[in-house]
């Protein structure tokens, strides 16, 4: 069984900037991390690998050259290898164009039975890329998965939905997006780090995927960012100190009544 885990390199939460002109995210190499939910996806793949004989786990990422670090980190954590999609043609891709590239990479890897993604990335926060890849590949998708049981030809999942959980069974090959509750990600091991250092991770460009530049990047993206602005969160905080007179709570109730809430 071959499992592809899609990992996105994202800025550590405190260091993201947007170019106000183009609306494109400015990334600095410093402080980039693997999208936290993608670590859960990777851990789930490794868990399956530990529970079966025949599992190969490959980490796939699209991003700048520096995203190689994310793939090496995945190998250090236990992945068997990976591939990086990188090149100017990919820059500026929206979720549709990103999904097109990642789907092509999965096809090119061949014989992938299961694709695992994070439910969403902390930078884009769309949660769209996974389902769009599934649609492009024509395979079933399940999202918000917090439990996963894999058999030879099918996978049973439990997804977190409004007010409860849904249990669904889908045939393989399939794409699953996972939530944080699914597991506790592990750490790189010493032998893993040695393997990561020696691992040869291919870098594929648009040509390798058989995609034309028109299908990728800004040209291949149906959406355009037209404006970036700071949200007006003009909250003027009324602060009260709790004492033993009951005044703070009374003020709170008055405040809520004024706003017609409680």
């Amino acid at each position: 069984m071959r499992i592809a885990v899609l990992i996105k390199q994202v800025p550590g939460t405190d260091n993201v900037k947007m170019d106000p002109e183009t609306g494109v995210m400015i990334r600095t190499n410093k402080g980039n991390i693997i999208n936290p939910l993608d670590e859960n996806a990777l851990e789930e793949a490794l868990r399956i690998k530990r529970s079966r004989e025949d599992v190969q786990v490959l980490a796939v990422s699209m991003g700048p050259e520096s995203a190689m670090k994310a793939i090496k980190e995945a190998v250090a954590m236990g992945a068997d290898g990976g591939v990086l999609l990188s090149g100017r043609a990919f820059a500026g891709s929206d979720t549709i164009a990103t999904a097109r590239a990642l789907a092509a990479a999965i096809s090119k890897l061949g014989d992938v039975n299961l694709v695992l993604c994070g439910e969403r990335a902390t930078d884009g926060e769309t949660g769209q890329t996974g389902p769009m890849i599934a649609a492009t590949l024509g395979i079933p998708v399940q999202t918000y998965v917090q439990r996963l049981e894999v058999a030879d030809d099918a996978v049973k999942v439990e997804r977190v939905v409004e007010g409860g959980f849904e249990q669904v069974k889908v045939q393989l090959p399939a794409l699953i997006t996972v939530v944080k509750g699914i597991n506790e990600p592990g750490f790189p091991t010493l032998t893993g780090k040695v393997r990561a250092r020696d691992a040869v991770v291919p870098v594929w460009g648009a040509d390798d995927l058989g995609l034309s530049p028109e299908e990728l990047g800004l040209k291949g993206s149906p959406t355009r960012v037209v404006k970036i602005f700071s949200p007006k969160l003009s909250r003027s905080t009324l602060l009260h100190r709790q004492d033993n007179t009951g005044r703070a709570v009374n003020e709170l109730l008055k405040f809520l009544a004024d706003r017609d809430i409680v």
Partner: protein
């Protein structure tokens, strides 16, 4: 793609067990506004086997309802839903197609967008029409709500977006409205062999689902123990509110993951968010700072949560909460949860 051939606004309604979900009415409100600005019709697609009271959708502002029926569509399965919607959109050709950013909408819309090779903007909080170009402006929070981005879909149709639940009021109900209800029977779409729905298991701890709640009471590590966290659950029960939690609380096992609010949990925007014993780290704020009103209770006057709060009480949760609950129980005429022992007041 000749974009001139696409006309009208379509929203995706949602149902559960044949009942229309209230989030549908929020979408109809949004959709009506957009349709009026463009001077076009508003339609609502809704999928499922048997659905009660489709005229309600007309009363809430739709000119047309497309009920897509079929055995494969009784419960939500991404594949059959997406295939039916792609077909419907190809038949009806709306220029705008929006859905709620629920677990259903956020799953099916990317499939539909990919199927139609058009763009999709996730989790919008603001939708508007560009006066000159007559196209949809989709505004969404990005990077944990720290910036807003406005996005458009200039070259392809439909222009698609999911809209964050509770970011608009439900549409006004008007029984004098009339409209057309048509059933699309895509009965030939077979029950999928590759996707099978097994069961829905309600979560007792989410008796009031966080996504649907008007009020959320959320607790953090300041509650000290699992027993301490029960105070938060008690206040929530009293207010008919959903229970939220910080990540630390979930990691400690005082609440389960579906209750986690924040960057790696859920994003919510209820009318009222009460944060108790939560420090307000950026990762938590990312999930709740767009709430309409925020109340914070924290012992530390410097706690970051106060920076996004409208009302704060600096004090010990173990004093403030019992006092607050006492006052709520004794206050006549307050809108407490139906069926609670104090409702007789």
């Amino acid at each position: 793609m000749d974009i001139q051939n696409y006309k009208g606004v379509m929203v995706l309604g949602e149902q559960k067990d044949g009942h229309i979900r209230p989030v549908t009415f929020e979408l109809l409100n949004r959709g009506r506004d957009l349709a009026d600005k463009l001077g076009v019709e508003l339609s609502c697609s809704i999928l499922g086997n048997e659905i009660e009271d489709l005229t309600e959708i007309i009363y809430r502002g739709a000119d047309k309802v497309f009920h897509v029926a079929g055995p494969a569509l009784a419960g939500f399965l991404p594949g059959p839903y997406a295939r039916a919607l792609v077909r419907l959109v190809q038949e009806e050709r709306p220029e705008i197609f929006i859905a709620a950013a629920t677990t259903t909408g956020r799953t099916v819309m990317p499939l539909v967008a990919a199927g139609l090779k058009t763009g999709l903007t996730a989790d919008c909080t603001l939708l508007d029409i560009d006066d000159k170009e007559k196209i949809l402006l989709q505004t969404r929070p990005a990077i944990g709500g720290n910036i807003m981005a406005t996005i458009k879909t200039p070259f392809t149709r439909p222009q698609m977006a999911t809209v964050r639940p509770r970011s608009a009021r439900p549409a006004h109900r008007d029984e004098s409205r009339t409209g057309l209800i048509s059933v699309k029977n895509y009965g030939d779409s077979p029950v999928s062999a590759v996707e099978r729905f097994l069961a829905y298991v309600p979560d007792a701890t989410q008796e009031v689902s966080i996504e649907d709640a008007d009020i959320i009471v959320a607790g953090g590590k300041g509650l000290k123990t699992r027993d301490g966290f029960k105070l938060v659950e008690e206040l929530a029960r009293l207010l008919g509110a959903g229970v939220g939690a910080s990540r630390d609380v979930v990691d400690l096992g005082w609440a389960s993951y579906p209750h986690q609010i924040g960057l790696s949990g859920k994003t919510v925007s209820p009318k009222l968010y009460i944060a108790v014993g939560i420090s307000g780290k950026v990762q938590h704020l990312a999930g709740m700072q767009t709430s309409e009103t925020i109340v914070a209770i924290n012992r530390d006057p410097e706690a970051q949560i106060f920076q996004v709060a409208d009302f704060g009480i600096v004090g010990d949760a173990f004093e403030v909460l019992p006092e607050l609950m006492g006052a709520l129980k004794n206050a006549p005429g307050r809108r407490l949860r139906e069926g609670s022992e104090d409702n007789a007041l």
